[in-house]
């Protein structure tokens, strides 16, 4: 399981939400991951080497603009490759820095609010009752007080009808939290103290400092062992961010994830903790995150790549015997004659060619036997998922589903809550669009009432 699950939406919560767009453009539109060995098509669109090869195998067109293209015309996109790599190097520290900045700001605000509480006229709102417009605005440079003030007034007026203060809860069950927000479209960072991302021990602190404590604890956590050891098998991965949670914390966590308030840097679960913590992501497929360096080799040189590149061939011209021979020459399994059709063998050879050629482009190429395993796993997943039934005991989908079940239950429950809330409140559309606040207001009011049918 890929414990590290960075997503462009991580930036929404920071003072520079525009980084979401930057990161989105560094991601492949086919797999939605950061580019791996980016290739540019003759029409100028960029995809991962493997993604575009698979697309061109399926139909010889650019997936973005539909212009005809073919593999030999693909070129390395060197600049994008460098951009992804430097972005990866700074991503974590940039995110941490921005989050810390945001926390400091919130803390300052909270202190100010605490002071103001002694004054009778002061509005009784704590930092996390602020709606997101305010969060965003306060993140703006301080030398724009005028604009800031005006915008704040605008949003206050706009939001007036929903701004009734939800009752303060001291309990933290997810349903209560959801209900307590029922009358409000404000989505606020109220992380659960028990949702501390790598700490399974609820932190007993006053609710006022929940947000701060959650994120601060995160940074401390490296030096702080969990008080209660939690077995990996007791953990469930959040369907949104893949963080692993125990049973009691998964639901609140998923709620928070849905509302976009998860703390930004994903942290590895205990299962593969050592592999990715703190290191800039050198992108490796999840499969190999636990494997040693002996699975990889040095990058291919340009000459090697040209020499080793496999031709695509032509399905109708290829003879079945030749396909078998090619597969066998590469050390790839093919069943006794007659058992597998030419179509199956051809598809296998195509996928092998794609894997092989994309691997030549990789900065961190895998060894051949690793690629062969990957080919087999790919075929297995295709076969199984085609029928949407678990057929293969070795196949992890069932385990995956079991692991994710609590998360999805929570997700669905949450959606249902949102729906009934929406029905009670009548229709409301979000006022702002483009901002994080807008996105989340919409999120909270989930546009269509019939979202979940059970």
């Amino acid at each position: 399981m890929d414990a590290d699950f960075p997503d462009p939406t991580d930036w929404i919560q920071t003072p520079v939400p525009g980084l979401q767009a930057l990161e989105t453009s560094l991601r492949c539109q086919v797999c939605k991951e950061l580019f791996t060995a980016p290739k540019v098509t003759s029409c100028g669109h960029t995809f991962c080497s493997l993604c575009i090869r698979r697309c061109l195998s399926a139909s010889s067109k650019c997936p973005t603009c539909m212009k005809p293209d073919e593999e030999p015309r693909l070129r390395d996109n060197i600049v994008v490759s460098e951009l992804v790599s430097s972005f990866n190097t700074i991503r974590k520290s940039l995110l941490d820095t921005l989050v810390a900045k945001e926390e400091a700001r919130k803390q300052a605000e909270e202190e100010a609010e605490r002071d103001s509480r002694t004054r009778p006229k002061a509005e009784k709102r704590s930092s996390y009752d602020l709606d997101d417009d305010e969060v965003m605005e306060d993140a703006e440079p301080v030398h724009r007080p005028q604009a800031k003030k005006r915008r704040r007034q605008d949003t206050t007026t706009l939001r007036k009808p929903q701004e009734t203060e939800p009752p303060r809860r001291s309990t933290r069950t997810s349903s209560q939290r959801t209900n307590s927000r029922a009358g409000s479209s404000q989505v606020i960072a109220i992380p659960d103290s028990d949702d501390d991302d790598d700490d399974f021990q609820p932190i007993e602190e006053s609710s006022e400092s929940e947000f701060q404590s959650s994120s601060r604890a995160k940074r401390k956590s490296a030096s702080r062992a969990p008080d209660t050891p939690t077995k990996d098998s007791d953990l469930f991965a959040c369907p949104l961010c893949n963080r692993r949670k125990d049973q009691s914390t998964i639901n609140p966590h998923v709620n928070r994830c849905i509302e976009g308030n998860r703390s930004p840097s994903p942290t590895p679960g205990p299962a593969n903790g050592a592999s990715s913590a703190g290191t800039p992501l050198r992108r490796q497929p999840a499969t190999f995150s636990n494997l040693s360096r002996s699975q990889h080799r040095a990058p291919y040189t340009v000459e090697e790549r040209e020499k080793l590149r496999l031709p695509k061939g032509n399905a109708s011209l290829a003879k079945e015997a030749d396909i078998r021979k090619k597969l066998r020459d590469h050390g790839i399994r093919c069943d006794v004659k007659g058992k597998e059709t030419k179509q199956i063998l051809w598809t296998r050879l195509q996928e092998w060619t794609n894997l092989w050629n994309a691997n030549l482009d990789s900065d961190n190429p895998k060894l051949k036997h690793v690629l062969i395993k990957e080919l087999e796993a790919y075929e297995r997943s295709q076969a199984t998922q085609k029928h949407s039934v678990v057929q293969d005991k070795d196949f992890e989908r069932e385990a995956w589903s079991n692991t994710h079940k609590p998360g999805f239950d929570a997700l669905i429950a949450n959606a249902r809550n949102t729906v009934s809330r929406k029905k009670e409140n009548g229709t409301e559309t979000s006022e702002t669009s483009d901002s994080a606040a807008g996105a989340k207001a919409e999120l909270n009011g989930m546009d269509s009432p019939e979202v979940v049918e059970v």
Partner: protein, 165 residues
């Protein structure tokens, strides 16, 4: 929803196993963070990310204004290389939708692209509601009435839609 007592921890993980599911997780995240108005989509069953239920609301100034239509999405193992199978599960009366809810829409067939996603399908379907392709109808009666007899079209649509309740 089946409840399994299996305690098998997920294996180290096959990147291929999660190709589809990872992409669908990302889409779910995207849909949660910035949904498009009048659409929604959600996985049906916690045990199967390959089946979703979606809804679209009929656009204003169309026969379908204000009505909500449910759809089922089934994703193949090689999604997004291949399109999902999309069906209207709410009874529909539209030139390009047959009585079984099957849809004739190019982007769900030969014009599919791996960069499309659930959201783009829902938006295309929304616009299909207002602008049918009457040249190759799946429902000939609907295609004929669309231009010739709006009143009768509306009546039959209402009748179909009531079957939903």
């Amino acid at each position: 929803m089946s409840v399994s007592t299996s305690t098998v921890a997920p294996a180290a993980g096959s990147s291929n196993t999660t190709n589809v599911t990872k992409r669908l997780q990302k889409e779910l995240m995207q849909l949660m963070m910035s949904p498009s108005p009048g659409t929604s989509a959600f996985p049906d069953d916690p045990c199967n990310l390959l089946k979703w239920t979606a809804t679209i609301v009929g656009p204003d100034d169309t026969y379908f204004a204000g009505k909500t239509f449910k759809l089922s999405f089934t994703f193949p193992g090689d999604y997004p290389l291949q399109p999902p199978t999309v069906l209207f599960t709410t009874p529909m009366f539209h030139p390009n939708v047959d009585m079984a809810g099957r849809i004739c829409l190019d982007i769900l067939k030969d014009k599919w692209s791996a960069v499309y996603n659930i959201q783009s399908i829902l938006l295309s379907l929304q616009s299909l509601l207002g602008e049918p392709n009457n040249k190759s109808p799946l429902n000939g009666q609907a295609a004929q009435l669309w231009d010739e007899d709006p009143k009768e079209y509306k009546r039959l649509l209402e009748k179909r839609h009531q079957e939903a309740e």
